[in-house]
């Protein structure tokens, strides 16, 4: 379903990602792990097209997406979250979720100006769909609050909710557990499982927490200094000698 082949990205003389290939099957939870600076986030940024790919191709659902614009990625069916949270800070939670419905709109600027009946119908539909996501992630009590007043853990959830509003086929999660306490991390793992099983969304995540990876992932790719060093089930990868060397040194 999703395939990255021979992907490379250089920043000056540094090879952030060096000849990385992997593929994600439909319905899978695929994790990318690795020590700091291994190039995990760069891979996500290449996929969501914030960075230009130097060498290699990215294919999604039979389509080459290596050169599409960043804003087209969402309509193609790929949503993402950010490690340090990128929300629309001055808006309410609800408004954040409604913004993410933009790609599903059937109206144009002129009808929006006049707020014709079908714009209203569409707004009510969007509102209802946003409420379904709010229900799923238990965000009811934060619905009308502005993002800058919310604690970090809730913001992470809102970001996840916003990504779900895009109704993606593939969800990219950039360190979903960073900044969360153990209890929040556990809740998160259940939600990720629900999203994967109930909504049928394929998940590609970058993660540090080995427990979370072991609990959720079908397969894991380990990166070190931009190169892929191991690919397999969580247990295989965890015990791989190269992975242990990358984390602990020789």
């Amino acid at each position: 379903m999703f395939e990255v082949s021979e992907l490379s990205k250089h920043f000056g003389g540094v090879a952030a990602v060096d000849n990385v290939s992997f593929s994600v099957d439909k319905g899978e939870i695929f994790s990318i792990m690795g020590p700091n600076g291994a190039g995990k986030t760069t891979v996500l940024n290449l996929i969501s097209r914030f960075y230009d790919v130097d060498v290699g191709t990215i294919r999604f659902a039979g389509q080459d997406i290596t050169r599409v614009s960043p804003h087209e990625i969402a309509s193609i069916g790929i949503a993402r979250t950010f490690q340090n949270i990128e929300l629309f800070e001055r808006e309410t939670v609800l408004q954040n979720l409604l913004i993410a419905h933009y790609i599903h709109r059937q109206t144009n600027v002129l009808s929006d100006f006049l707020f014709l009946p079908h714009v209203r119908r569409q707004e009510v539909k969007f509102r209802k769909e946003a409420e379904d996501i709010i229900d799923l992630l238990h965000l009811q009590r934060y619905r009308e609050q502005r993002i800058h007043a919310l604690p970090f853990g809730v913001r992470k959830l809102v970001e996840l909710a916003r990504a779900l509003c895009l109704k993606p086929k593939l969800l990219l999660l950039d360190e979903p557990s960073s900044g969360l306490n153990p209890e929040e991390t556990e809740d998160l793992s259940f939600w990720i499982e629900d999203i994967n099983k109930d909504l049928g969304i394929t998940i590609l995540m970058v993660e540090h927490d080995m427990n979370l990876i072991g609990h959720l992932s079908n397969r894991v790719l380990a990166l070190s200094s931009g190169r892929s060093i191991a690919l397999g089930t969580p247990i295989e990868v965890k015990d791989h000698p190269d992975v242990i060397r990358a984390y602990l040194g020789t």
């Binding site: 950010f82 109206t107 600027v109």
Partner: protein, 357 residues
Amino acid sequence: MRFVLKTDYHHDVDIFRDRVQLGWYAALIIFVLSLPIFWGTYLESQLTLVFLWSIAGAGLMILVGYTGLISLGHAAFLSVGAYTHAIFLDLGVPPFTSIPLAMLLCSALGVIVSIAALRMTGIYLAIATLAFAMIVEKILKNWSSVTGGNTGFKVASPELFGWELNSTLYYYVCLLVLMVVMLCVTNLLRAPTGRTFLAVRDSEISAQATGINLIKTKTLAFAVSAALTGLAGALLAHQMHYLFPDSFNLFTSIKLLMLVIIGGLGSMWGVIFGAIFMTLLPDLIATLREWLPDFIGNLPGLEPFTFGLILILFLIFEPQGISGRWQKIRLFIGQFPLYRKRTFRRQKSFLRTERVH
């Protein structure tokens, strides 16, 4: 404090929160409609100015307050709107055609300016728009065969279906146009298109990740903003009777920008508050001059000085502008005596993603 029980998603889509709020707005409109009966012609013309500045402010608010792009060149759209309308009227084009033409020309210019805006933010954008305004002023000055150059251009008096409008009727026309503009902008902001403006203002990275085309959104914001400011310019032309190339200069642009900042960025009510404030302030200063001792009262720079001082005070003490202060007062009354100062304090925000910039 009133609580509204929402039982239907339509409640979240509606403009008015409930019947009580609708009632207040209706009362306000009736009040404004009845004002010319009680007030003299001076206040009537001042209020007409408030309406026109509100329309121009609504245009700038879309750009500065909602899309997060700055412009120091909006006076150019005012003058292009005014000149285009006046020239077309002079050629015998009816106002119902000449005003849309003026708006169309302004939005076309807005699209041209936005080409520069796509690559710039902050101070660089301010300088680029300023340069644009200078160019427009020079063109108006030197293209004297069409604009009359420095000798000015006489504006035909306002007419509607062959009837000449006196100042009271013109007051109603401007009020009607303002109400339509406010309705349209509010509509835009509660629909998907308007939300893209907010998205671009708050986080360009996220906006792209949610499928929003930055180029399209910024261009649209400039076009809509320029069209509304051009509309205000066209209507202002009648109030000014004679147009000169420097009728709308850098100071006008700064005044417009002050209007939206002092009114309160990101609020349509802020536009109206700001317009009232900016129209009445010169009167207030004139009154103050009489009261102050001569050596201060006769200073020529008193007006720009006061404008600047007030802007600085607002930026330091009330960055949310008059509309932000108004919200706080309303909450204070609504929650009395439980109001806490902390409610509006902004929490320190966490690191934003630096890795994708």
